[in-house]
Symmetry: C2
Amino acid sequence: MVTIADVARHAGVSPSTVSYVLSGKRSISERTRSRVEESISALGYHPHAGARSLASSRANVIALVLPLRTDMHVPILMQFATSVVTGAREHDHDVLLLTNDEGPDGLRRVARSALVDAVIVMDIELNDSRVPVLREIGLPAVLIGFPADPAELTCVDWDFVAAAARCVDHLADLGHREIAFLGPPSAVFARGTGFAQRTTSGFESTVARRGLRATVRPCEPSHSAVRDTVKRLLDDHPGLTGLVIHNEAAVAPLLETLRGLGRHVPQDISVVAMCPEDLAGQVVPRLTAVPIPAEEIGRRAVELLMSKLDHLSVPPATLIAPHLLPGESTAAPPADS
Amino acid sequence: MVTIADVARHAGVSPSTVSYVLSGKRSISERTRSRVEESISALGYHPHAGARSLASSRANVIALVLPLRTDMHVPILMQFATSVVTGAREHDHDVLLLTNDEGPDGLRRVARSALVDAVIVMDIELNDSRVPVLREIGLPAVLIGFPADPAELTCVDWDFVAAAARCVDHLADLGHREIAFLGPPSAVFARGTGFAQRTTSGFESTVARRGLRATVRPCEPSHSAVRDTVKRLLDDHPGLTGLVIHNEAAVAPLLETLRGLGRHVPQDISVVAMCPEDLAGQVVPRLTAVPIPAEEIGRRAVELLMSKLDHLSVPPATLIAPHLLPGESTAAPPADS
DNA sequence: CAGGGAAGTCGAAGCGCTTCGACTATCCGG
DNA sequence: CCGGATAGTCGAAGCGCTTCGACTTCCCTG
């Protein structure tokens, strides 16, 4: 193993000088700096992470806590994890992966053992058992999602209220007067996930503001359940011309069902989806969507965390603004409606 | 922060004794052990990971290198990652997440800096740029998948040859005489992914052994491409009664296409899938499948890695045996065929 | 009953790094 | 031309842990 002492000897300086070249915490003459840097690459030196962590009490590692539950849309989660890793690397940090298998103790353990010096926690529920632990361990943390009581915490999330509003506005602007919302399975509501409620309320308040008639229905993931829900919906509301869907698993079944019923999209009925961009692009017709910006949320979470590590003050709540991605699944409602 | 010295003082022993209680590397009297353990939990002591890594030159962290490419079926990947984390924790190790964004340098960096002491690399291609780096850094490693030259390496994978064979045998046993294989997109073949080739060869050799007529077709992920492929296939081979599919994204479109064409599954045509168990269970009819045991592969990879860390010798190649999960999508072929 | 080994414990030496205080050389203003 | 910053470098202490050798008991065997 190559140590800092080897580099120092090779460059003809003291170990502390090498350390200061690396950290930039004291001024170093240009000559010395370049000599040291040459020695570093000549010897292929990489500082020992453990030694560094011990001496500086910063591990340069952050923990990423992923949800245990798998009823979340997995590709999003993966996109998110990737962007966190990439973001962390840009700040010279690595990412330790924690699942909820170990429960809140996992958080305690990595915090107390100084394995990590900050945490990102995903998929926060209204009443999340990890939140008190986060307060207890006192490590810098960023939550994705909002708990019931976000006091003292830093939270990031997509602006679900605005996203739903954007969908409704889009349909209203096109002239639709009666629309419906197909949401996540009712189980998601039941377990107190904040975003489901926020989406619904964004939908409902915008519908009221724009003076539309509207229906809200949860939507189970299976193909047949979607078919039944949609059929019933269309029977009950013959004047329906627009649909907002917020449920990845139901997108393909929905389109297929409409096709099966002879309803053309967008001529007979418009569909706008809150879903990942790639899903919107894969189906026929390509969906008008308000895509979930997983990558941006991940990046922002990392940036906030790094600011906290630098003892900068950060806003307690960050909402990522939605934007509409035009597709071929929305148009003005049919003339006779 | 609570240190080992605090625990030692609290228990009235020396720090080294506490260390030996923790590691079990020397015998400790029952009395001393229990006193130390009480002190540990009384003080809430967790050893400092950095200090431990420095002193023992083992970090108790393994790296998990996930593929950059996203044309892999993501839920599988997630299942896999989860089982690696769980498995690692059972051996008192944590998992550092590495993506390929950083390229092979990421591996070098974490190895040289002693951040991790072993590596699991996923989604190995026949000619994988990470393989030479793995040889270079000389860290214990387990690869998921087989490179062209696996000499000196430890590889784990599903037995794709046997899995395809199992599918063919199942159809042949039911009496089918003419079948087809719907594989991954041609891009997957093109980039030299070993499993695609192994699946195909397993299919073809079993078909030959059982004396069946058979066709092999790649399959692009989009709905319409699947429809076209399937229509053409059925037109070209009117006697076709059985289908083996190895392409997660194409499963739903395939079933829908068959339904659209009025071909009943399994009365008119049998379908057996190589896909995750949950996907097989979600669709109608529930598929007969040879499920990809992501979780088992992950666990085995971790076990092999831990054995290597303990300097035990391990088999260079581990193939996980497939098993057939009966569903409602296969039956004897129609009588008139 | 002497001698040898096992069981149980301790002290001290580092592991490779950061950081603080101290030191020298250089430069500036008065 | 002198006193005091400032830039640039070094030495040494110490971060919290593991591990090796050494020591003391105690028990067993011949």
